[in-house]
Symmetry: C2
Subunit: 133 residues, 2 copies
DNA sequence: GTATCTGCAAAACATTTGCAATTCT
DNA sequence: AGAATTGCAAATGTTTTGCAGATAC
């Protein structure tokens, strides 16, 4: 399993260091769109040498190599998502949770003449089912 | 025209101060999705007393009162849009320009069971027509 | 063995806060 | 007059940078 993870990183041309493996595995097993702080707080106790500098470096690298998405659903904090498939995110303004949802495959509008789309994000705000009960 | 602007603010329950009128008029006449810095640099020469604190206060107030949208297409800077109608934004990764585009009225995916949508943003990245020539 | 990566401390930035002076109605 | 707003300076919080030592292949 550790071996598998190593392969995934190396296929993307990323040297598999302990720190990067730990971050990758964290993102793979935590689908709650963690912030940098959440990841750090969770990994640091077991890996005291892990620094925030490295965490920032690693997350930036993962975003660039398409191993993670950097979500800016809130302007004041970046959240990360290990699921890089095409999907939208919605956030409940009451409980603060972020949920995934599938995007309709169809178009989502008419882009300007000649614009070539490479990637996109859809963010929705509102109130989730639990909070409306 | 100044009178009109004043009315618009007051209808939203916002006291029409000089600073707020200036910011509102700036947003009305600059549709290029300016950052805080761009707005400040542009207004400050003509209104030297305008502080960034007030600018931040004003932009936050406008966002809350639906007089402007706060766009976080880039995680590291907030941009503002005086056009609060429903539309998407796309950014060219080569020239950096941000363009508006209409959203298809249809759904943009299936939200989680029970989630009530209040607002949404759609961001698209790619290369614009001019940069592809 | 050598290039890359890590982590510390400091720097750089953007945004917020406390508060006294000013401005609106 | 009285409440709301402004703007300064300081605080806060996040992300970046420089660089010496450690690590991976």
């Amino acid at each position: 399993m550790m071996v598998e993870t190593k392969k995934i990183l190396e296929e993307k041309g990323i040297r598999a260091t302990q720190q990067r493996l730990a971050v990758y595995q964290y993102l793979s097993s935590h689908k709650n769109h963690p912030t940098v702080e959440m990841i750090y707080s969770s990994l640091h106790p077991e890996m005291p040498s892990l620094s925030k500098t490295t965490l920032y470096n690693t997350l930036k690298l993962f975003s660039e190599k398409q191993l993670a998405l950097a979500l800016t659903i809130d302007g004041d904090e970046v959240r990360f998502d290990g699921d890089t498939s095409d999907h939208g995110h919605c956030k409940c303004r009451r409980c603060g949770k972020v949920f995934d949802f599938p995007l309709s495959s169809a178009d989502m509008g008419t882009l300007p003449e000649g614009f070539r789309r490479e990637s996109s994000h859809v963010y929705v705000w509102g109130i989730c089912g639990d909070c409306r009960k």
